[in-house]
C-alpha cells in the first residue's frame, strides 16, 4: 500500500468548503485521488457526499478551496471543463437522455465529426469497441436509452465516462438502483477500470460494496472529513463508528 500512497495525486481537493445558504454542506475537505486506486467516500445521508461529487464533476463551483489537477490549480466551472481535464463522472441518475440512442448518448458533447457533419460510422464502431471492452451486452447500439434495462443503462453511463481516456472516474452511488447480480457486475467493472490504471472515486453508503472494491475509505460526517482508512486493515466497526460519529479521534484507524 505504501508505494501507492507515495504516488502523486492525479486529482486533489484542497480545503474545499461549500454552503447552500445557511447549510454548510462541505467544510474544509481534502481529498487525494491517485492512479490505480479505488477511493471510497462514505457517509450518512446529508454528510456532503453529493456535494463532493458536484465539485469533482464541475457541476458545483465550491465557495472556497482548490481543485488541483496534475499539480495545477484549476477552477472547475463547468462539467465540460472537468471532462476535458480527465475527470469523468457517472451520476447517480446516470445523466442519460432517454430519447437519444446508445451511440448518441455515449458521444454526447464529444461527437466525432467528419468535416462539419457527424461521423456516425466512426462513432458506432467506437461504441461497439468500448462496450465490448467492458463486456457490456446490448441488443443494439441504435436503441433509444428508454428501451434499455436499469443495468444496461448503468453500463452505458460507465462506458460514456470511460470514453476519451479520463484520468479519474467518479461514480456516485453506482449500485443504489441495481439488483444483486448487476451490483456484482458493476463492482467487477470498477476493479477492471482500476486495473487499467484509472483513479476511481466511489461514493456510496453501501458498506458491503465499499469493502469489496475500495483500497482506501474516506469518511464524511456533517460536511467534514471524519477519518481515512486503509480498506484492508480497517474493520467494519471502525468505519461505521466514523460515519456515525462514535469514533473519539478521527483517523485513529489509519494504518
Amino acid at each position: 500500500m505504501t508505494d501507492v500512497m507515495r504516488e502523486p495525486a492525479v486529482i486533489a481537493l484542497r480545503g474545499v468548503s461549500h454552503a447552500y445558504g445557511a447549510v454548510r454542506a462541505l467544510i474544509d475537505v481534502d481529498l487525494d485521488v491517485r492512479a490505480h486506486e479505488v477511493v471510497a467516500v462514505v457517509g450518512d445521508n446529508g454528510a456532503g457526499k453529493s456535494t463532493l461529487v458536484g465539485v469533482l464533476s464541475g457541476v458545483l463551483v465550491p465557495d472556497t478551496g482548490e481543485v488541483v489537477v496534475e499539480g495545477q490549480e484549476i477552477q472547475l466551472t463547468s462539467p465540460g471543463l472537468a471532462r476535458q481535464l480527465g475527470i469523468a463522472t457517472v451520476f447517480q441518475d446516470l445523466a442519460l437522455c432517454e430519447h437519444l440512442d446508445v451511440v448518441e448518448n455515449l458521444f454526447l458533447g464529444q461527437e466525432i465529426r467528419r468535416g462539419p457533419l457527424l461521423d456516425e460510422v466512426a462513432m458506432e464502431r467506437e461504441a461497439w469497441h468500448l462496450l465490448g471492452q467492458l463486456a457490456v451486452r446490448l441488443p443494439s447500439v441504435r436503441a433509444p436509452v428508454s428501451a434499455l434495462s436499469g443495468g444496461q443503462r448503468q453500463a452505458v453511463a460507465v462506458a460514456r465516462a470511460l470514453l476519451g481516456e479520463p484520468r479519474v472516474l467518479v461514480l456516485d452511488e453506482p449500485t443504489a438502483s441495481l439488483g444483486v447480480t448487476q451490483t456484482a457486475e458493476v463492482l467487477n467493472l470498477v476493479e477492471r477500470v482500476r486495473d487499467q490504471g484509472y483513479g476511481v472515486v466511489v461514493v456510496s453508503h453501501n458498506m458491503t460494496d465499499v469493502q469489496a472494491v475500495a483500497d482506501r475509505v474516506v469518511v464524511l460526517r456533517r460536511g467534514r472529513l471524519n477519518g481515512e482508512f486503509d480498506a484492508d486493515l480497517a474493520s467494519y466497526e471502525q468505519i461505521i463508528a466514523a460515519i456515525t460519529g462514535a469514533a473519539p479521534h478521527p483517523g485513529e484507524g489509519r494504518s
Binding site: F91, L96, L100, L108, L117, S140
Partner: protein
C-alpha cells in the same frame, strides 16, 4: 464476465456488430421504412391524415385535387410552414413561442414600411425585418436562460409587445399595399421553377441522397457494422423519387412549383441535416430530452436555448415577409388572429412532440400541408372561418393525444 440484463432478452438478440443484423433506426422492411429519409414513426399518422383529408375533400369538391388548387395550396402553406419550422426547433428543446404570429406581423410591417414608405432597397427591408424578429427571439432566450421566466409567459408578453410595435410601425393608415411589380410580391405570387429546373432538382436530390446513403452503407460494411439489406433501400428511394417526380409533373400541369414553396422545402432540408447530422442538432435534441443530463454531458445549454429562440423568431419574421408578399400588403391583421395557434398546430400535427426531444424538420412540411388542406378544402366548400377553426382544433387535439400517448409509452418503458 458479461453484463446481462435480467430476463435473458439479450440471449435472443445479436451480441456484436457483425451479428446484429438490423440496427434499430435503420428499420427493417416495415411500412415506416418505406417513407424515405427523415421519416420516423411520428410521420405515419400525419400521412394517413393527409390521405383522409384529400379523399374527403375530393369527394366533396372535385376541384380539390386539381393541379390549380394544389399549386395554390403549396403557395399558401409556404409562410405558415416556414414559421412552423421555427416552432419545431423551439418545441424540440421543450419550450414554446406563442408570439410567432405577432412577430411575423411585425416583420411584414417593417418590410412594407421600409420598402414602400422609406424607399429602402427590398433586400435591406427584408434583412431588417428578419434581424428585428431575430432580436426579439434572442431577447426571449436571454430572459429565459438568465432570469428563468417560463417561456409561455415570456412569449405571451412578447406577443403584446410585438403587436404594439406592429401597429406603431404601420402608422395611422394601418395598412400598406405593396406594388404588384415589387420583387417580393412577384417572388411569392408569380415566380415558379422552370420545369427543367424542377425535374433537375428532384433528380439531383434523389440521386444525391441515394448516393450518400450507399456511400455510408459502404463505409459501414468496411467498418463491419450492421447494414440494411440493399433492396429495401433501393425500393424506398425509387418510391421517393417516383412520388417527388410525379408530384412535380402534376404541379407542372398548372403553374408549377412556386419559388416560395421551393424556398420552404430548401429550409426544411437544411434544418433536417442540421438537426440529424450536426453537433448542434444533437445538442438541441439532448436539451429537449433531458436538460440536466445535457448540461452534465458538457453541452452549453444556455447557448442552445438562445439559438433556438432566435432561429424560431427569425423564421417567423421570414414567414411574415413571405405572407406580406403573398398578400401584396401588410396590415394590422397580418399574423393576427389564429396564426400563432395554426403554426403550433402545424408543428405538432406534423409529429413534433410538445414535451421536447422528439420531432423532425419534416413535421413542419407535413403539418403545414395538413392545416393548409383543411383551410383550402373548407374554402372550396364556401365555408367561412368558423368550421375551419373547429376542424383544425379537433385535428390538433387528436395530434396532441397521439403525442401524449407516445410519451406515456416511453415513460412506461422507463420502468
Amino acid at each position: 464476465m458479461s453484463w446481462s440484463p435480467p430476463g435473458g432478452r439479450v440471449d435472443t438478440h445479436a451480441l456484436g456488430p457483425g451479428s446484429a443484423s438490423r440496427a434499430w433506426r435503420q428499420g427493417g422492411v416495415s411500412w415506416r421504412g418505406l417513407l424515405g429519409p427523415g421519416a420516423d414513426s411520428g410521420s405515419v399518422p400525419v400521412l394517413a391524415a393527409l390521405l383522409v383529408l384529400a379523399l374527403v375533400f375530393q369527394a366533396a369538391n372535385p376541384h380539390f385535387l386539381s393541379a390549380d388548387n394544389l399549386v395554390n395550396l403549396s403557395l399558401q402553406v409556404s409562410a405558415i410552414g416556414v414559421m412552423a419550422l421555427g416552432m419545431v426547433l423551439v418545441l424540440l428543446v421543450g419550450q414554446v413561442d406563442l408570439s410567432v404570429g405577432a412577430v411575423s406581423g411585425l416583420a411584414a410591417a417593417i418590410v412594407a414600411v421600409g420598402a414602400v414608405h422609406q424607399g429602402w432597397p427590398l433586400a435591406v427591408a427584408v434583412a431588417v425585418a428578419i434581424v428585428a424578429a431575430g432580436v426579439i427571439g434572442a431577447g426571449y432566450g436571454w430572459m429565459f436562460t438568465r432570469v428563468g421566466v417560463p417561456s409561455f409567459v415570456l412569449t405571451l408578453a412578447g406577443l403584446l409587445v410585438a403587436q404594439g410595435l406592429q401597429e406603431r410601425v404601420l402608422g395611422s393608415s394601418g395598412s400598406i399595399t405593396l406594388p404588384f411589380d415589387s420583387p417580393l410580391v412577384r417572388f411569392s405570387q408569380q415566380s415558379f421553377l422552370a420545369p427543367a429546373l424542377a425535374y433537375g432538382l428532384v433528380a439531383a436530390g434523389v440521386v444525391g441522397g441515394l448516393g450518400l446513403r450507399l456511400l455510408e452503407r459502404r463505409r459501414r460494411v468496411l467498418a463491419e457494422l450492421p447494414v440494411d439489406p440493399l433492396r429495401p433501400v433501393l425500393v424506398r428511394w425509387s418510391l421517393l423519387g417516383a412520388v417527388a417526380g410525379s408530384a412535380t409533373w402534376y404541379l407542372n400541369l398548372n403553374r408549377g412549383i412556386g419559388a416560395s414553396f421551393a424556398l420552404f422545402l430548401a429550409l426544411v432540408l437544411a434544418a433536417d441535416i442540421l438537426l440529424r447530422r450536426t453537433r448542434w442538432g444533437r445538442s438541441v435534441r439532448a436539451v429537449g430530452s433531458n436538460v440536466g443530463s445535457a448540461h452534465r454531458a458538457g453541452i452549453a445549454v444556455r447557448r442552445v436555448y438562445v439559438a433556438t429562440f432566435t432561429a424560431c423568431a427569425a423564421l417567423a419574421g421570414l414567414g411574415g415577409v413571405l405572407a406580406a408578399g403573398r398578400l401584396a400588403a401588410a396590415n394590422q391583421g397580418t399574423g393576427g388572429s389564429d396564426t400563432n395557434l395554426t403554426v403550433i398546430a402545424a408543428a405538432v400535427i406534423g409529429g413534433t412532440s410538445l414535451f421536447g426531444g422528439r420531432g423532425s424538420a419534416w413535421s413542419a412540411l407535413l403539418g403545414a400541408l395538413v392545416v393548409g388542406s383543411i383551410s383550402s378544402g373548407l374554402t372550396l366548400l364556401n365555408l367561412d372561418a368558423a368550421p375551419r377553426y373547429i376542424v383544425t382544433g379537433m385535428v390538433l387535439a387528436l395530434a396532441v393525444t397521439v403525442d401524449a400517448l407516445g410519451r406515456r409509452r416511453v415513460n412506461v418503458a422507463d420502468r
